[in-house]
């Protein structure tokens, strides 16, 4: 019964999220400044969660954590079905692949976190 409405809404919501989370253009009718503010707020929330889940990564990267995470996040918007723990692990792999982070050592059982 709501199929036409759902289709129109799906397109509009997807366009907004592409602008906010990836590299999509600001959808027509939106205030670009507000889209920028929202984009920054969402990025900051995601970064904060990853920092909380992987303090080891944040500490090792130090001042590089923020710019590196922001570069990673823009290129890898969080997809449906990705948990924050996976997001954090992928960021660590991404940073390690770029040589920014020491490759993960094999942890011994007595060092295992969680």
């Amino acid at each position: 019964m709501t199929r036409p409405q759902r289709e129109r809404l799906a397109a509009a919501q997807a366009e907004l999220l592409r602008a906010l989370l990836a590299d999509g253009a600001v959808p027509e009718g939106f205030d670009p400044e507000r889209v920028r503010v929202e984009k920054r707020a969402l990025l900051s929330k995601r970064r904060g969660i990853v920092e909380m889940l992987r303090p080891d990564v944040a500490v090792e990267l130090g001042e590089r954590f923020r710019p590196l995470f922001d570069a990673y996040a823009g290129a890898h918007p969080k997809e449906v079905g990705t948990r924050f723990r996976e997001d954090a692990a992928r960021f660590a792999e991404w940073a390690a692949a770029r040589g920014e982070l020491a490759p993960p050592r094999k942890r011994r059982w007595w060092q295992r976190a969680t």
Partner: protein, 285 residues
């Protein structure tokens, strides 16, 4: 958990009738980081838990302790994406319903928002376009969810940093029609209302005039901060006096069944949370 849920009178189905909300009092959001604080704070009449963070089979000891004391524990969901274009994920609804039963909760809640679209997950509560299209989809989703929930559903107004173009309804009208068409309850967040007034120019008086206050389940109060001229609903800062003023405006119209303080980060000393609860009580009179 079974013991907690065992000796309960089954309440009416969520979808049926205008079952009134019981008196809840003043409460605080239970979070694992402040579990001991919540247990020992004086005058906590009820608590809320974030539904997605709990597992029905492994409820935290602190939550079970509160239930044993007779403190109502209300599951609050953040991920149903009820205003999303896709039908709601049945597993998320089943989890929320199972949690409500395990906690013997009088009701559950989520937000008037969408979370996911086009394969992307915003990780946040995104505002909906206030259009007939969006309302039709939201109503259909809410009705479907109500069929699968064992208890009534309350829906909360969100804080938005941006406004969709071509809105056909005010936020109050949008919520009023949602309630009228689904019989849901309302969870009014006065900090979100304040945020929208500050950031989007929402008229607080008009909002309160337009929403059906007789369907109010409870109220959220939270802190935030201003950053470069925009108010951010952070839940990590003190509650602003302006937010308590909005609560006072609401209180002048209705005696809310419950009011709950949300704090999600940068947890202050117990005394500070106690003072915020006392400030809420003072407004309620």
């Amino acid at each position: 958990m079974a013991a907690v849920a065992a000796a309960t009178d089954r309440r009416p189905k969520a979808t049926k009738g205008r079952w009134p909300v019981e008196k809840l009092g003043v409460g605080i959001g239970w979070r694992p980081e402040i579990d001991l604080t919540v247990e020992r704070l004086p005058g906590v009449d009820f608590v809320e838990v974030v539904a997605e963070n709990l597992h029905v089979g492994h409820l935290p000891e602190s939550v079970l302790l509160l239930r044993e004391r007779g403190v109502p524990v209300l599951p609050h969901a953040v991920s149903l994406s009820l205003g999303g274009a896709e039908p709601v994920d049945a597993q998320r609804v089943a989890h929320l319903g199972a949690l409500a039963e395990a906690l013997d909760a009088p009701l559950v809640s989520d937000h008037v928002c969408f979370v996911r679209a086009g394969g992307l997950d915003s990780g946040h509560l995104m505002p909906l376009p206030r259009t007939r299209d969006a309302l039709d989809v939201l109503v259909a989703n809410v009705k479907a969810v109500q069929q699968d929930l064992p208890v009534p559903l309350a829906l909360e107004n969100v804080a938005a940093l941006l406004e969709w173009p071509d809105g056909e309804l005010t936020e109050g009208q949008f919520l009023a029609e949602l309630v009228d068409r689904t019989d849901c309850h309302l969870l009014v967040d006065v900090a979100n209302l304040y945020a929208n007034a500050r950031n989007l120019g929402t008229d607080v008086t008009r909002f309160l005039d337009e929403i059906p206050l007789e369907r109010l389940a409870y109220v959220h109060v939270a802190g935030g901060e201003e950053h470069q001229g925009v108010y951010h609903d952070t839940h990590a800062h003190a509650v602003l006096p302006e937010v308590l003023d909005v609560l006072a405006q609401l209180r002048a119209r209705v005696d809310p069944p419950g009011v709950l303080l949300e704090r999600d980060d940068d947890y202050p000393a117990d005394a500070e949370l106690a003072a915020e609860l006392a400030a809420i009580r003072a407004v309620l009179g």
